[in-house]
């Protein structure tokens, strides 16, 4: 048994139906504070659905989501961000016509200046400074005045991470952060994730099992919408069922 304060996020019997299709069934997991946890599974395992439930994009059909003991099952999507859960999307999701700096600045502003109508945004220079600092930390310091749509794919993914960090999240959710990246970009992104995970709790969804084995401390394996296994990378490597699922898929 882990102490309650060790658990930052928990799902209790979470299920999700789309019409008649049950994408998730009775998933109960406790995510530990300060750990890097990866959610893995073959295609169609329900990883993305689970991610969307965790990040507040879809409410669960059944079960509960508890963040630091608070029930967020029925909360609206933006409340998740305000509670301290930030996410980056699988498909790059930035504000394309705004500069990289403004992308991050708007994300920082969400924390405390949501409905400030009558002062100039330049009246809050600390937001610009923080945006520049965050951009530098993800390696985009010299690209800050470029429009987001002019950035390379890998740079846009890094920009997303900077935006996710902008609200100083307690929990960072990353959906396939290396999707569509070149091997070199993938290496850089993995390095970045490792640095981020040193300072906060990170949960990431990944399709490529090899990639996360050496990186994360906990693994959650989903299969056909159900929890198949949970444990350290060594536990998972030794798990026969996991091996069968992955090898079974690889045999085709």
């Amino acid at each position: 048994m882990t102490a309650a304060s060790d658990v930052i996020l928990a799902t209790e019997g979470v299920g999700k139906n789309f019409g008649g299709f049950q994408a998730l069934r009775d998933v109960s997991v406790e995510f530990r504070r300060g750990k890097l946890t990866a959610i893995i599974g073959p295609n169609g395992a329900g990883k993305s659905t689970y991610f969307n439930v965790l990040s507040g994009a879809f409410p669960p059909s059944t079960g509960r989501i508890l963040f630091e003991g608070r029930d967020l099952s029925r909360a609206r999507p933006h409340s998740f961000a305000r509670a301290g859960i930030a996410k980056s999307f699988q498909i790059t999701n930035v504000f394309p016509e705004l500069t990289a700096q403004e992308n991050v600045r708007v994300a920082i502003q969400a924390v405390h200046r949501r409905f400030e109508l009558f002062r100039h945004r330049r009246a809050f220079p600390e937001l610009y400074d923080e945006a520049d600092r965050l951009l530098a930390s993800v390696g985009l310091g010299d690209r800050r005045l470029r429009r987001a749509r002019e950035l390379a794919h890998g740079e846009q993914r890094s920009l997303e991470v900077a935006m996710a960090l902008a609200c100083r999240p307690k929990l960072l959710l990353l959906d396939e952060p290396t999707a569509g990246m070149s091997p070199e970009e993938t290496r850089e992104m993995m390095g970045l994730i490792e640095r981020l995970a040193a300072e906060r709790t990170v949960i990431l969804v990944e399709h490529k099992m090899k990639l996360v084995m050496g990186l994360c401390q906990r693994l959650i394996v989903l299969h056909h919408g159900e929890l198949l296994a949970e444990g350290t990378p060594d536990d998972i490597r030794a798990n026969d069922e996991v091996r069968r699922v992955y090898l079974g898929q690889g045999a085709h």
Binding site: A86, N93, A110, V111, F115, E116, R119, R121, M163
Partner: protein, 325 residues
């Protein structure tokens, strides 16, 4: 960082100044505007409908919501002002405030219902609700004059700080209207530059991302909708004083369509575009309606050509071509 500016063309530098001092530039232009327009009543038309397009553009160009019901706000503003003046003997300044307040209220109700929908459904819901407003005013004949419109919004003189100005003098009228439009333009610019203006752009660019950042997208849209309605309501109130009558057509959906055309002609999402669009539309109407009774056909052709070949509108294309980078 040492970034060397590339050599700039005169046009680019000039437009750069205009963009940086957009309020001063717009006001300066509007002060001189009557001198270059055939007659002052047309200048006043462009001024008032330019404000209408400006308010519409807050929603369309800056928040990314296409409403087909903005006639409801122009109309409520006009009727609110006119009814206060004609039936209740309220002073001209109070009447303008009442008109604007009524439009804001109508915008709050319509906005509350409409922001639950998106895209084409949003356009349809705003259209349907604005037609409800049309019929409501149409039916309240004792108050609104029904299909004849509200007549008798006559303002002979207005008192400003103890001075009596003749509102019948078209030059005086233009500059009185400009005083209101000028304040509105200044407020509008402040709003766009504010942190809230940044949220509007974020919602336009990517709703999901804005939500993931922690912004309440629905609340943001509603606030934008209400503010947009308030600007259009002020335009309506000024229009009532300018025309001395509120035609029932002010509330008709064709008036909603007109503002979409103006915004697209001028350049959606640009500060000065709505005024350029209003000027282009009304000048075309003015010139063509003398030559042919099928003037709308030609305005339509111009509009289609613009949408096909200059989707950023007149001002937007100029900024793209010569504007600051």
């Amino acid at each position: 960082m040492t970034v060397l500016d590339p050599p700039q063309s005169t046009a680019r530098r000039w437009l750069g100044h205009v963009a940086r001092h957009r309020v001063a530039a717009t006001l300066g232009f509007l002060v001189l505007f009557p001198l270059i327009v055939p007659y002052e009543a047309l200048a006043a038309n462009i001024l008032v409908l330019g404000l209408y397009a400006l308010g519409f553009n807050l929603l369309f160009g800056y928040t990314g919501l296409l409403s087909f019901g903005h006639a409801a706000f122009l109309g409520s503003g006009a009727y609110g002002c006119g009814i206060a003046l004609v039936h209740f003997g309220v002073g001209w300044f109070g009447a303008i405030l009442i008109g604007t307040a009524l439009a804001t209220l109508v915008a709050a109700v319509i906005g509350f219902l409409a922001i639950r929908t998106r895209g084409i459904y949003f356009a349809m819901v705003t259209l349907a609700l604005s037609m409800c407003v049309y019929y409501a005013f149409y039916q309240m004949e004792p108050l609104t004059g029904g299909e004849n419109g509200l007549r008798g919004v006559n303002l002979q003189t207005i008192g400003v700080f103890g001075f009596q100005l003749s509102f019948l003098n078209p030059t005086v009228k233009y500059y009185v209207l400009l005083a209101f439009v000028g304040v509105a333009i200044w407020l509008f610019s402040r709003l766009l530059a504010s942190p809230f203006g940044a949220v509007l752009e974020a919602v336009r660019e990517n709703e999901n991302r804005a939500r993931a950042c922690g912004y309440d997208v629905a609340a943001t849209k509603l606030v934008a909708f209400v503010i947009s309605g308030a600007f259009c309501g002020l335009a309506g109130a000024l229009n009532a004083l300018h025309l001395s009558i509120v035609p029932i057509e002010t509330l008709h959906y064709t008036t909603s369509g007109q503002v979409v055309m103006m915004a697209l002609l001028g350049g959606m999402g640009t500060f000065f575009g709505p005024f350029v669009g209003a000027a282009t539309f009304l000048l075309l109407q003015d010139v063509l309606s003398v030559l042919t009774q099928h003037w709308q056909l030609y305005v339509g052709i111009v509009f289609i050509l613009f949408v096909l070949f200059f989707p950023r509108g007149i001002w937007g294309s100029l900024l793209d071509r010569f504007g600051p980078r």
